[in-house]
């Protein structure tokens, strides 16, 4: 390498100093490269934060201020009218409560099914383990697709019911794999063997020894399930029609989509800006749906990173 030659010319004293300061990233002093990198990161962070501050500012501003386009990142003529209207709109609040309920049940059942699959498969002694693992991993790579599923759900009479939002997705091969890897890598076999010799059954070992030792992964995977369910609405689009089965994300999507189409149509024939949903109200709806995630986000972020790392160990 050509930097091998260059090295001889560099000052020895300098490199010694950087080594003594230790670590992989030790550099002498604050350099321009540090400033450039920090600038890039700050810029990217701004793209993640500013849009939401803008929408939040809009949602609590007065209608005229928003229409005159003078609201940027700070609200003007502060009013909570729009939020009051959103909360009074029964279909919005009902949809929100429905989403919470579906998410909670989904998470609970999902964790149950996941443990049922992951614990036995983490036992090397289990006879038939390779075959069962294979059967349970196939869905990760090959699914039949939307239409065959649609017909299947129709035949099972769960189309356009509450259950179609829960049952098809509660078993997740990906989450199962993470949990299985965790069991295998962190819970020593000897612990279970001694419990086994003391006469404990498999159920008792799982319930009293393995699960209490696995709290971090249980927290992480619960969040995977909960956030996944909370954010997804494609199945809502495909498999449900009834208004009372609309989860809040789907509701928001429809609301904004219809406002956009109305705007496009009116732009085409009048050239003016007429919208079916006033902008302030729309902003309030977006915030209504975003705030729950933003509130719990700092808490769940940590567990998410942890879970992804565990998955990466043997993913």
């Amino acid at each position: 390498m050509d930097w091998g030659i260059k090295m001889e010319k560099t000052k020895v004293a300098q490199s010694e100093e950087s080594i003594s300061s230790g670590g992989a990233n030790a550099v002498i002093g604050f350099k321009i490269s540090d400033a450039i990198m920090m600038f890039i990161i700050v810029l990217l962070c701004a793209t993640c934060v500013l849009p939401f501050i803008h929408v939040a500012a809009k949602s609590i501003s007065g209608n005229t201020a928003v229409m005159s386009q003078s609201v940027y990142f700070w609200p003007k003529d502060i009013t909570f009218d729009a939020f009051t209207r959103v909360f009074k709109d029964e279909s919005m609040t009902r949809s929100m409560i429905f989403s919470v309920w579906v998410t909670l049940l989904f998470t609970f059942l999902g964790m149950f099914v996941c443990t049922c699959a992951a614990y036995p498969l983490s036992k090397k002694r289990l006879k038939g383990r390779p075959v069962i693992t294979f059967l349970l991993m196939v869905p990760m790579y090959f699914t039949a697709g939307i239409i065959p599923s649609y017909i299947l759900y129709y035949q099972l009479h769960i189309l356009d019911t509450f259950w179609v939002l829960i049952l098809p997705l509660i078993y997740s091969p990906y989450n199962m794999l993470i949990m299985k890897n965790y069991f295998q890598s962190t819970i020593p076999d000897s612990l279970e063997e001694s419990a086994f010799l003391d006469g404990a059954t498999n159920f008792q070992i799982l319930w009293k020894i393995v699960l209490p030792l696995s709290k971090p992964i249980l927290a992480t995977l619960s969040l995977f399930y909960a956030v996944g369910r909370w954010n997804a609405y494609a199945d809502n689009m495909y498999f449900t029609r009834s208004a009372d089965l609309k989860m809040i994300q789907y509701k928001l999507y429809q609301l904004v989509a219809s406002a956009t189409e109305a705007q496009n149509a009116s732009l085409a024939d009048t050239g003016g800006v007429v919208q079916s949903t006033p902008e302030v109200l729309q902003a309030a709806c977006i915030m209504f749906v975003t705030i729950p995630i933003i509130i719990i986000y700092p808490f769940l972020q940590k567990y998410f990173v942890q879970g992804t790392m565990i998955g990466a160990v043997k993913g």
Binding site: L44, V113, L136, G145, I146, I147, Y171, V256, Q282, V289
Partner: protein
């Protein structure tokens, strides 16, 4: 010869437990496994027989029994369908662009994050950069609209106030602008979260390597290029394989949340095709055929890229 036989027999004695004793000891474990197995058999494998619709002229009113088998005719019809070829072209083009633009971004970002020296700054910026991953496409789409509307979007207003443009840029309302906005929003959504696996891999690189390089006088850029990047190579390959499998994929939520009728020409991708033909127009056979095509190509791509990666001496995925 005798030795081999002997050792084989020994191994057999060691591992072979009869089903009877296995069931006696572990019946509770099998009982637990029954629950996920039933779910997978009912909801995943149970849908496989429905794939025969792709080879039939399926009429919902007649059911499977009353519908005619047509062999590969549905596929022939699909490939002649102008809507399908457009959807296929758009899907492949946009997915490849997603891969080209979106795949390197988390790697670059991870390298930068790794070089940051203020721990607190690094932590806070990571938390912020992960945020878009936790938001649904409905939220991202509606916020994008608020930002990019030609007449009243924040970006356009700011640019107009700065006298940089006279008329709003139709970020989401003209197909070429839309293509770029769609891609960038995709990259933006995935870039922060995508760094996690790379950062995890970077922590696994031995600090001694860096120290040795520094004794040799390697600067920051050289260390990045010759130590960090090679150190995360297997992670890059694994993720590349997984992403290649998605070249045939298509995300209905992202497409519909960002799309509108004005950009139909580019927004019309396979997920939209299946949704409209299958669910809205009841053309079950055609939509099933397209779905099957998508799945088979997806699996084939994963297997192929895995094989190539192994040939190149990497670990591969499977």
């Amino acid at each position: 010869m005798k030795n081999i036989k002997n050792s084989n027999e020994k191994a057999a004695v060691k591992t072979k437990v009869s089903w009877q004793s296995a069931l006696k000891r572990d019946w509770q474990l099998y009982l637990l496994l029954l629950i996920p197995l039933i779910l997978v058999i009912v909801f995943c494998y149970g849908a496989y027989p429905g794939l025969r619709m792709a080879f039939m002229d399926y009429k919902p009113a007649k059911g499977y029994a009353g519908s005619k088998w047509v062999g590969l005719n549905t596929f022939k019809k699909v490939f002649k369908d102008a809507d399908f070829t457009r959807a296929l072209r758009n899907s492949v083009a946009f997915n490849l662009l997603d891969l080209f633009v979106g795949f390197p971004m988390p790697i670059i970002l991870a390298l930068i994050l790794n070089e940051l020296r203020y721990k607190r700054f690094k932590k806070v910026s990571q938390t912020i950069l992960y945020l878009p991953h936790f938001l649904s496409w409905a939220i991202i789409g509606s916020v994008a609209l608020t930002m990019f509307k030609p007449s009243s979007g924040l970006v356009n207003i700011a640019l107009m106030n700065a006298n940089l443009i006279e008329q709003g840029i139709p970020f989401l309302n003209e197909k070429w602008h839309w293509a770029i906005t769609y891609l960038l929003i995709g990259v933006w959504q995935g870039m922060g979260w995508g760094t996690i696996l790379y950062l995890a891999a970077i922590t696994g690189i031995s600090g001694e390597l860096y120290e040795a390089a520094m004794i040799d006088g390697a600067n920051r850029w050289q260390r990045m290029l010759h130590i960090t990047l090679p150190g995360i190579r297997s992670t890059i390959v694994t993720l590349l394989i997984m992403n290649l499998g998605r070249v045939m994929g298509s995300n209905l939520e992202r497409l519909t949340a960002l799309g509108n009728t004005q950009v139909k020409e580019f927004q019309y991708q396979l997920a939209v095709y299946i949704y409209q033909k299958g669910i809205s127009n009841n053309k079950f056979s055609m939509a099933t055929a397209v779905g099957l095509f998508q799945s088979v190509i997806g699996v084939a791509l994963v297997l192929l890229s895995d094989r190539i990666a192994k040939k190149l001496g990497e670990d591969g995925l499977l």
